[in-house]
Amino acid sequence: MTTTAQATAVTATARRRRDPASGEWRGPKRPYDIVKEFVIAMVVVGLLVVGLAALFSSPDDRSVTLRAWAAAAPIDFMTTTATELDGSSGSAGYGPPYNSNSTGQQIGPLKLAQFAGVRIPIDSANDFVINPLTALSSADPTVKAALDQWNGASATQQQTWATNYTAAIAKAPNQDPTKVAAGDYGPVPALVAAEYQVALTGALDGALGMGGDFYQTNYTKSLLFIADGGYLATLADNQHLAGDSWGMMNETGSYPGQAWLWLYTFWYQINPFKSSANADALVWGLMMILTLGFILVPFIPVVRSIPRWVPLYRLVWRDYYAKHGGGRH
């Protein structure tokens, strides 16, 4: 280019402020077989996944039925049943979306859980204990009598009986609900024992379906009930799946898990999140902000300039720079 032409080009370009990286590429090209590239990728990746599947298989730890829970951990099962009746279980005091017995978590003043509302109504005592026992065991006169006594009492009386019982369990030898001291528990011990017996038969697993229909695809009640206990959590903890041991990233057995969740689970390992009652909401709020940052990287100062300051790109295009110059920005 002549000096005049160069000057004109620079001025014209300065006027337009054209982004040199934009527009159709008019520089040198090479042949490229895009279909062949895709087919090769399919073959290589296909062989890789089939090979890995054949070599290592995949995990499949059996689900824990309510029956298995009751049989393996009767004390935990019965204690959990008692806490459903006295309202101290996780699900009973959860708040939205299951009930209004707490306001749910918040991010500062933002009460998003409460705003979304109680859209999956769960009444722990009735849904997990009273209704299933009524459906399954009221032919048994002892159970029927206990149910009648419970249903005939006021809410305050029910609460008193149940709270007395859970307090007594805490003081019992081995915290065994069948070995509590004498006290005013009303029908609660009988209801707890009946629930345990029903669970052992396997009938409780089906009975906690939503709405008593024939078909069941919604396991909200069974899952909330079993998660209220400690047994599932103990099994999980044994496999490093608990939240405070980076559990979100991990898989049962020795399989690789979900490494991509590393940043999400990281926050739960440190304060202030580790000890906050609003840990979940705070972590979600933080991750939503970071996610927005990730999506908008091209517009974020410093972050979008780091690749230029740490010029690893020179490795990618070293051949082109060697032939045509450039790459020193």
Partner: protein, 234 residues
Amino acid sequence: MTATLPGPAGTPPEAPEPDEAVLQRQWTSKLRRGFFGAYPPERLLPDTQPSYVASWIYVFGVATIAALVMIIVSGLVLTLEGPQWWHTSTWGHFVNSVHLWSVELFMLFMVVHLWGKYIMSAWRGKRALTWITGALCFLASVGTAFTGYVIQTNFDSQWISTQAKDGLNSVGIGAYFNVLNTGQMLLFHVMMLPLVLSLIVVLHILLVRRRGVVPPVGIDAETGEPVVSGEAAR
């Protein structure tokens, strides 16, 4: 329909041509011109590429797509026999293993692809939307994978769903997206989210084809030479 005009004696009557202006204004014509204008066949299926596309880092995009195809194919096989087939069938368990390892490779290749694109500041030259759709692909993938984990109908599903509900409930999402509702999660995983993810993937690929692969830092796309000094390198 206008009446046909009589042609020359002895010949069949000629139909009048539709008005060209009317045709151009049609939604169909506008869509056709818009799409095929932006995407002529040589751009959708090119036979050349800029000569700077010469590094192994460039294979991770297509590797990610290939892994996604394996996920979908193995997922379709699992669909044929229902959600619990793989617990009791050896062949079913193998297909499930293919599905799992496809997911592991998919996420692995996608993240290396993402690292490469960051290193290349691949959003330059009006390619911000390519980056954005790519980020959305990643997020949609994480969400789709999550629904997959909760429909395994085993211990892992029980644990993951009862834990994840707390995060989702804490910000109100759980009231609408009930991870304990296995039927809902199954439909999300098999139908809704793969459709959404595939749509974002297609958009991402169309944007790559539209804008082309980003040129090297400091190189002018119009000349293939280093940017003339005096211009701000962006």
